[in-house]
C-alpha cells in the first residue's frame, strides 16, 4: 500500500486562523499520525476521505489519484474506497447494530430493514462478537461494543484503506489496551492498511508503524 499526500488549506473562523500544510508519503501498512490536539490531524484525515477540500494539493492511495487540485480531480467521498472510523464512532442512533453494519451495503434511498440480516452483516456480527446485540440500538451497548460496531460498519464496505481518528481515546484505560490488541490482530487477519491518528504516545508504541509527527499544521 502507498499513501502520498500533500495538502494545503487555510481555515478562518472569526478571529482564528489556521494554516494546514501537510505532506508525507509512506508505503507502510500502518501509518500513525501523531501530534497534540489541534495540530491538524483530523483535518488531514478528513481531506483524505474527501470530507474537506484542500485549497491545493493532492491525495493518492495505491497510485490512484483521489484529489489533485492541479488537474481538477476530486473524487467524492462515496467513491474513494476509504473507510473512516470517527473518534466518537458516529454510529447512527436511529438504527440497530445490524442496520449500522449493513448501512454501506445498501446504497439506495432506504436503510436496511430491521430484522432481515444480510449474510455479510452476519459475518461481521460474528467476527466482532456482536450477534447478541445485533438488534440493540447504539445507546444501549457498551463503549467497546460501539467501537467494534464502528469498525464492522467501516469494514463491511471492503475499503482499500481504513482511517481511524483517535480510535482509543473514547475508551476507558482498561479497555484501551485490549482494543489495541484487537485492532492489531484484526489487521493481521484482514491484511488491511491502516492510517491512525492519535495524541497518545502509548498508541504510537503499541501500533509500531510508520509514525509521522504533526504540529501546528505541519509535519515535523
Amino acid at each position: 500500500m502507498s499513501v502520498d499526500i500533500a495538502i494545503r488549506k487555510t481555515l478562518r473562523a472569526d478571529d482564528r486562523h489556521f494554516e494546514l500544510d501537510v505532506a508525507f508519503a509512506s508505503e507502510h501498512r500502518r501509518i500513525v499520525i501523531f501530534g497534540p490536539s489541534g495540530a491538524g490531524k483530523s483535518l488531514t484525515l478528513r481531506a483524505m476521505a474527501g470530507l474537506l477540500t484542500p485549497d491545493e494539493g493532492h491525495v493518492r492511495v495505491d497510485g490512484r489519484t483521489l484529489l489533485d487540485t492541479a488537474t481538477g480531480v476530486d473524487v467524492p467521498p462515496r467513491d474513494r474506497g476509504v473507510a473512516y472510523v470517527f473518534q466518537d464512532y458516529a454510529l447512527f442512533p436511529h438504527l440497530t447494530v445490524a442496520q449500522n453494519i449493513g448501512f454501506g451495503l445498501a446504497r439506495r434511498w432506504l436503510n436496511p430493514r430491521r430484522h432481515s440480516h444480510d449474510d455479510r452483516v452476519r459475518h461481521w456480527l460474528d467476527i466482532f462478537e456482536l450477534a447478541a446485540v445485533a438488534d440493540s440500538y447504539p445507546v444501549r451497548i457498551s463503549g467497546g461494543q460501539r467501537q467494534r460496531v464502528a469498525l464492522a460498519r467501516a469494514l463491511a464496505v471492503e475499503p482499500r484503506l481504513l482511517l481511524l481518528d483517535e480510535p482509543f481515546a473514547a475508551l476507558d484505560p482498561a479497555l484501551r489496551g485490549r482494543m489495541r490488541h484487537e485492532l492489531m490482530a484484526l489487521q493481521a487477519r484482514l491484511d488491511l492498511p491502516l492510517l491512525v491518528i492519535t495524541h497518545d504516545p502509548a498508541d504510537v508504541e503499541a501500533l509500531d508503524g510508520h509514525t509521522i509527527e504533526v504540529r501546528d499544521g505541519r509535519v515535523v
Binding site: G50, R78, F86, A90, F92, P93, F103, R108, W109, R140
Partner: protein, 224 residues
C-alpha cells in the same frame, strides 16, 4: 346538530391538505435554509416568518391581489381553469400560508440539530446526497418535523381571517368551522356556536399535547 358536521368535515379536509402541503414545502425550504451558507439566509427566514406575525386579513388581501380574478396571476389561473377565490382550495392556500412558518421553523431547528458527522459518515460509506437526506437527516429530524406539523394542523384548523378574505363564507362549500362559529354567533345561534367551539378546542388541545410530547426529539428518539 347535523349542521355542525359539514363545517367540521370541511375544516378537517382543509387543515389536512394544508398540513400535507407544508410537510413537503416547509421541510424542503427548511432543509435548504439549514444548509445554505449566506448572509441573506436570515433575511429570507424573516420574510418566511411574516405569516406568523402579519394580521391574517393582510395575508388574505395579498392572496386576493395575487390570485383573484383581477389579480397578478388571475388571468393565468383563469386560462388554466383554476378558480381559487370562493372555493375550498382557496381556503387550503390561506391555511397553508398561515401555518407554513410553524413547519418551516420546527423543521429547520430539527435539521440543524442533526450531527453533521453522521451525514459525513454516511457519505464515506458510499451514499449520495439524496440518500443521506432520506436515510440520515430526515429520520433524525422526523420528531421535530412532526411536532411542527401538529402545530401547523392546529393553526390551520383555526384559520379565520385569511380564509374569510379569499374563500368567503359559503355554507357547505367554504364555510369552515371557525367561519361557521362566527356566522352562528352573528345569527344568535349560541347552541351551535358553543358545540363548534368545544369541538375546535378539544381538537386543538389534542394536537398541542401530541406536539409537546414529540418536541424533545433527542430524549426519546431511540427506543430500547
Amino acid at each position: 346538530m347535523g349542521a355542525i358536521w359539514i363545517p367540521l368535515a370541511l375544516s378537517l379536509k382543509v387543515a389536512l391538505w394544508a398540513t400535507a402541503i407544508n410537510l413537503v414545502l416547509g421541510v424542503a425550504v427548511a432543509f435548504g435554509l439549514s444548509r445554505w451558507r449566506s448572509h441573506a439566509r436570515e433575511l429570507v427566514d424573516s420574510i418566511l416568518t411574516l405569516p406568523l406575525v402579519l394580521p391574517p386579513t393582510v395575508l388574505g388581501y395579498y392572496l386576493l391581489v395575487l390570485l383573484g380574478r383581477r389579480g397578478v396571476f388571475g388571468e393565468w389561473l383563469d386560462r388554466l381553469g383554476i378558480q381559487l377565490v370562493f372555493t375550498w382550495q382557496g381556503a387550503v392556500i390561506a391555511s397553508t400560508l398561515v401555518a407554513f412558518p410553524l413547519v418551516q421553523k420546527a423543521a429547520r431547528a430539527a435539521f440543524e440539530a442533526v450531527d453533521p458527522q453522521l451525514e459525513d459518515a454516511a457519505r464515506v460509506l458510499g451514499l449520495r446526497e439524496a440518500a443521506v437526506f432520506f436515510r440520515i437527516s430526515l429520520p433524525l429530524a422526523a420528531r421535530g418535523i412532526t411536532a411542527g406539523a401538529l402545530l401547523a394542523f392546529a393553526r390551520a384548523l383555526g384559520e379565520f381571517g385569511a380564509t374569510l378574505m379569499i374563500a368567503g363564507n359559503l355554507p357547505g362549500r367554504t364555510q369552515t368551522l371557525s367561519v361557521a362559529i362566527y356566522a352562528a354567533v352573528q345569527a344568535g345561534d349560541d347552541r351551535s356556536a358553543g358545540i363548534m367551539v368545544a369541538v375546535t378546542s378539544v381538537t386543538c388541545v389534542v394536537a398541542l399535547l401530541l406536539a409537546g410530547w414529540l418536541a424533545p426529539a433527542h430524549l426519546r428518539r431511540m427506543r430500547p
